[in-house]
């Protein structure tokens, strides 16, 4: 089971550190522009209350915050999985998601959506397909890619993640960590311009967390823009170029990881960080 460990982890934090300085706002068009996002479930539960974020190309944004603060909902909205009540999102300069007048469905541009990949907390591999077919289903069916080419790409990707021996296996024969690595590979098959990770290690046994985080760190080294929701503060510190503390459906604090995780300016952030680090 462990014979397939991923390629070595980055040697030091510095390699990521050199890329940390995100382009200053205004020098490049934002990759993602979230404006005044409102989202509720039913009439009484408001999850997002006017959330706005700009994300620059190459940024690795880690979203932290208490449960129910809207982190996962934000990611689901970004993936186009949720209806929104108010607000809009632009992606790579194009309109992507737009709230419609009350009672109408949210406008979601599915062509823009294809440029975004997501990995979930729960295992979402297709259990009736082997690993290879899990990987090539979307490229073949969505992009009309030739099966042989897609298979070759899939094998290369699996090899990169130390999973080449599992190509013909079915998901139920994989460990949780392997499943999540496959899920990441499956999303990468579509060459996303942005990756979303929603608590991808929180369902895993502790000893399997590292192998998944290493794969995400590998992607970070290749400048893949990403938004990550995590409760793992060590991981957040290592991967983030920017940390957003989200609570009560709004952005409470937003800044470089040294600031938000190290010496937060907002009282609520400080309380949260202290509590989380205290537990660990």
């Amino acid at each position: 089971m462990t014979q397939s460990s991923p390629a070595p982890l980055l040697q030091s934090d510095d390699r990521l550190g050199t890329q940390r300085g995100a382009p200053a706002a205004g020098t490049a068009a934002p990759l993602v522009q979230v404006r005044n996002l409102h989202k509720g479930y039913g009439p009484n539960i408001r999850v997002l209350k006017g959330l706005s974020i700009d994300m620059q190309p190459g940024e690795r944004v880690v979203v932290i915050g208490p449960s129910g603060g809207g982190k996962s909902t934000l990611l689901r909205v970004l993936m186009g999985l949720e209806q929104i009540d108010e607000g809009s999102i632009r992606f790579a300069g194009k309109p992507y998601i737009e709230a419609s007048p009350a009672g109408r469905r949210t406008t979601i541009d599915t062509v823009v959506r294809r440029q975004i990949g997501m990995v979930f907390q729960h295992y979402t591999l297709f259990p009736h397909l082997n690993i290879l077919n899990n990987l090539i289903l979307a490229p073949c069916k969505v992009h009309g890619e030739n099966k042989a080419t897609a298979t070759a790409r899939a094998r290369a990707l699996l090899a990169r993640f130390g999973l080449e021996a599992k190509a013909e296996a079915y998901p139920n024969h994989l460990s949780g960590g392997q499943k999540q690595r496959v899920a990441i590979a499956r999303a990468l098959m579509l060459d996303p311009k942005l990756m979303l990770f929603d608590e991808v290690t929180s369902a895993l046994d502790p000893e399997l967390v590292a192998e998944v985080e290493q794969v995400i760190l590998q992607l970070a080294q290749q400048d893949m823009p990403m938004v990550i929701v995590t409760h793992d503060m060590w991981f957040a510190k290592n991967i983030a170029s920017r940390v957003i503390f989200c609570a009560g459906g709004v952005v409470v604090e937003d800044g470089p990881p040294e600031q938000v995780l190290g010496s937060p300016r907002e009282e609520r952030t400080r309380e949260f960080i202290e509590r989380v680090f205290h537990i660990r």
Partner: protein
């Protein structure tokens, strides 16, 4: 009282012929009933109430009445209602197909419902078009999940098919009853008839049990 089971051997051919009829009728009704059940199972989760409500009414009526009453209704009443004679084989096939359709529709409906929201989310995140989602992700899993229950629905139908003897179909039960009446040896003949049904149904139920655990293990991932 002494029992002479050797007497049954004299009617071997007749019993085998009856078994053949039973198997043929079972297969016909399984195939037609499962197709019907699949469509009705889908209809039960349709958005339009004009599709959903009749589908539900059909299932409730056929699950809520005895099969023998359904059978008699199609054999005795339907000809009166439509004003034409119906051969007993047609009435029998209609009744058992409709019964099978009702029970398998529940099997299909449950298996379609068991596909988790996460699977649909994953499809959306991968940009799979709706038709691809249905054909490559939802249906294969739903059918795989339905298979063990469907197989046990088939075993039930195989046993229920003995009711066809009541409308004069020359199936295993009907022939067994005739032999038993003519030879005045009900114990020997009906015991053998029961054993024949059991010999076919029992291995199938074992298969269902083994198959079920394998399917569940696979789909639990």
């Amino acid at each position: 009282m002494t029992f002479d089971f050797a007497i049954v051997l004299r009617f071997k051919e007749a019993l085998l012929l009856g078994l053949w009829t039973t198997l043929q009728l079972t297969v016909i009704c399984v195939v037609l009933g499962s197709l019907l059940g699949f469509l009705v199972g889908m209809a039960r989760s349709a958005n339009s109430p004009f599709v959903r409500v009749p589908a539900r009414a059909y299932v409730e009526v056929f699950r809520g009445t005895p099969v023998i009453v359904q059978l008699f209704w199609f054999f005795f009443c339907l000809p009166l209602v439509i004003g034409t004679e119906i051969p007993n084989i047609v009435a029998g096939i209609i009744a058992l197909t409709l019964y099978m359709g009702a029970i398998t529709s529940e099997t299909f409906r449950a298996s379609l419902k068991s596909i988790s929201r996460e699977q649909y989310d994953a499809c959306t995140a991968l940009g799979l078009p709706h038709a691809t989602q249905v054909v490559h992700v939802v249906l294969p899993q739903a059918l795989l999940r339905a298979a063990p229950t469907l197989l046990s629905n088939c075993v039930s139908l195989f046993k229920e098919s003995a009711l066809l003897s009541a409308v004069g179909m020359a199936d295993l039960m009907f022939i067994g009853q005739n032999i038993s009446n003519n030879t005045a040896r009900p114990v020997e003949v009906l015991t053998v008839v029961a054993l024949i049904y059991f010999a076919i149904a029992f291995p199938l139920t074992r298969v269902v049990t083994r198959f079920e655990s394998r399917v569940l293990a696979k789909l639990s991932a």
